[in-house]
């Protein structure tokens, strides 16, 4: 098994708070890995440290290449795509402009995007700030799918979405997973069970468990690790 991503002793300190306290894990190439944990344990910060949006110390290795010294845009150009928590789409720009900004490849893959989210094509001249939460999430995911990537980092894509939209996002992730490696932060356990092959659990700034989604069926495990009761949500 090849590793897509290896984090070794990654530390992040922001405004005096030691948020990541030596994070270590490996991500298997070509599959979806779920990153789980309670709120505030450092999952989002872990993703942001990988792309260099927070100052980080330690080793981050992408397919054999050390990327911890790279600036954010260089990490992205090394083949990483990032879908942040809360979407972070550009509200004053139109849908088309949001997507255009994300273009990196010579031939951006608009076919897949339009196939997955036909709504975005209809609304391409609408300001992204006026879209619904679900539509904004589509824009955020679409931005990541336009280019060929080796690693896709997705932070809570279903947060606050209606069940029907959760299904759409899940479908998009499954399609993306056919072509790339995904590290997925997600609170929706059924979704994780459906798409992830491996899981990593964090607590208080460190990784406390490596395993498989099957373990999530164990109510005791879920409660102990994630502070949720039961495997169903």
């Amino acid at each position: 098994m090849t590793n897509a991503l290896t984090l070794t002793d990654v530390n992040v300190t922001i405004k005096g708070s030691h948020i990541l306290q030596g994070v270590n894990f490996e991500i298997e190439a070509g599959v979806v890995t779920g990153l789980l944990g309670r709120n505030g344990v450092g999952k989002s910060t872990t993703l942001r440290s990988i792309v260099g949006l927070v100052p980080r110390v330690g080793s981050i290795n992408l397919f054999g290449e050390e990327i911890s010294g790279l600036r954010t845009h260089e990490v992205i150009r090394a083949g990483v795509a990032f879908v942040p928590e809360d979407r972070e789409i550009f509200a004053s720009l139109t849908v088309a402009e949001n997507l255009k900004l994300a273009e990196r490849d010579k031939n951006p893959d608009y076919d897949t995007v339009h196939q997955l989210f036909p709504e975005l094509l209809q609304r391409k001249n609408q300001r992204a700030g006026t879209l619904s939460g679900g539509q904004q999430q589509m824009v955020a995911v679409a931005r990541a799918l336009l280019n060929k990537t080796r690693l896709l980092l997705v932070d809570e894509p279903t947060k606050g979405l209606a069940p029907k939209l959760v299904t759409e996002v899940a479908a998009a992730l499954e399609i993306a997973a056919q072509a790339t490696t995904i590290l997925l932060v997600e609170q929706n356990l059924p979704l994780v069970k459906r798409v992830a092959k491996n899981i990593i659990v964090m607590d208080q700034g460190v990784v406390v468990h490596n395993g498989t989604p099957a373990e999530l069926a164990d109510a005791d495990f879920a409660k102990r690790m994630l502070g949720v009761s039961g495997g169903s949500h």
């Binding site: 949006l53 600036r71 845009h73 992205i76 550009f90 720009l93 402009e97 900004l101 994300a102 931005r143």
Partner: protein
């Protein structure tokens, strides 16, 4: 009524000069979070360049020489600005307070250098005589130079608009004003846009310097600083990072200042500051600014 028309157009002309300084300040602040206290020095550099060109190089008093001096002063302002960004600002990435402090120091150094080179007395620059003409609007007479300021500022506004709306770098700037971190997270080297906004901001300020020399009939070491304070006020009233907001605010500030100053000597400058206070108390993000995140 005639006086009102004359004053109003003069006010818009002054606002046009404020806009030339404020547009760069606004974009630089909006995109990079840098409050540029050296912006007045860019203006003064452009003003001295225009003075030098029209009195030493081509002192023929022709409109052509004047037009060349405008472009030249813009370029001088732009080069000064880009050098500032490359040599000072860039090395203090994400240290916003230090960036502002360095520009304060640079402003001080620049004013002292101008003082050492050109002396403290304003140097007189005589624009082409055509600019002294007046045009009649109804019963009012208005200096033709006012229309020049308004036209140049209008062209800069249009160029800004086209650049922001239709070019890739404009798209990056608009997105960066909203959320710089996310722009880099799409694989875009936002620092190139930093250098670019300093270039266009410096160009507009230098151009403003040449025109301010005409407006004030000369250039002294602190010409830029005199404009800088009102340009700051314009930027805050208009909303940081918003070019249309800056344009509207520039007209409001310029006309208010000129009109009130005419009726009560000196009170105009004071009223403009009160205007700023009122805007901030009712709308902290400015007229067209976005709520900071």
């Amino acid at each position: 009524m005639e006086i009102f028309i004359t004053l109003f157009i003069t006010g818009v002309g002054l606002g046009a000069l404020y806009f030339l300084v404020a547009s760069g300040l606004s974009l630089i602040y909006g995109l990079m979070g840098v409050l540029n206290f050296a912006h007045g020095a860019f203006l003064t550099a452009g003003a001295y360049a225009a003075w030098y060109f029209t009195t030493e190089v081509r002192a023929d008093g022709s409109l052509t020489s004047y037009a060349i001096s405008l472009v030249l002063s813009g370029l001088v302002g732009a080069i000064f600005a880009v050098a500032t960004e490359q040599l000072l600002i860039k090395h203090l990435y994400d240290r916003h307070i230090d960036q502002a402090l360095v520009t304060v120091g640079l402003g001080l150094v620049a004013v002292s250098a101008y003082l050492g080179w050109f002396g403290s007395d304003p140097l007189i620059a005589l624009p082409p005589t055509q600019l002294y003409d007046v045009v009649q609007i109804g019963d009012a007479f208005v200096g033709i130079d006012r229309f020049l300021y308004i036209t140049v500022a209008g062209l800069v506004l249009l160029a800004n608009f086209l650049m922001l709306r239709y070019t890739r770098i404009g798209l990056v700037i608009r997105a960066g004003v909203e959320n710089r971190a996310m722009v880099t997270a799409l694989g875009i080297d936002v620092r190139k846009a930093f250098t670019f906004v300093f270039f266009i901001g410096g160009f507009a300020a230098g151009l403003g310097g040449a025109l301010a020399t005409t407006y004030a009939s000369g250039v002294g070491p602190t010409l830029g600083d005199a404009f800088l304070i009102y340009a700051f006020i314009t930027v805050v009233i208009g909303g940081m990072g918003s070019i249309p907001g800056t344009a509207i605010a520039a007209v409001i500030v310029g006309t208010t200042q000129v009109l009130v100053n005419y009726y009560v000597q000196g009170l105009g400058d004071f009223v403009v500051v009160l205007l700023l206070a009122v805007v901030l108390l009712t709308r902290p993000q400015g007229l067209l600014g976005k709520v900071a995140h």
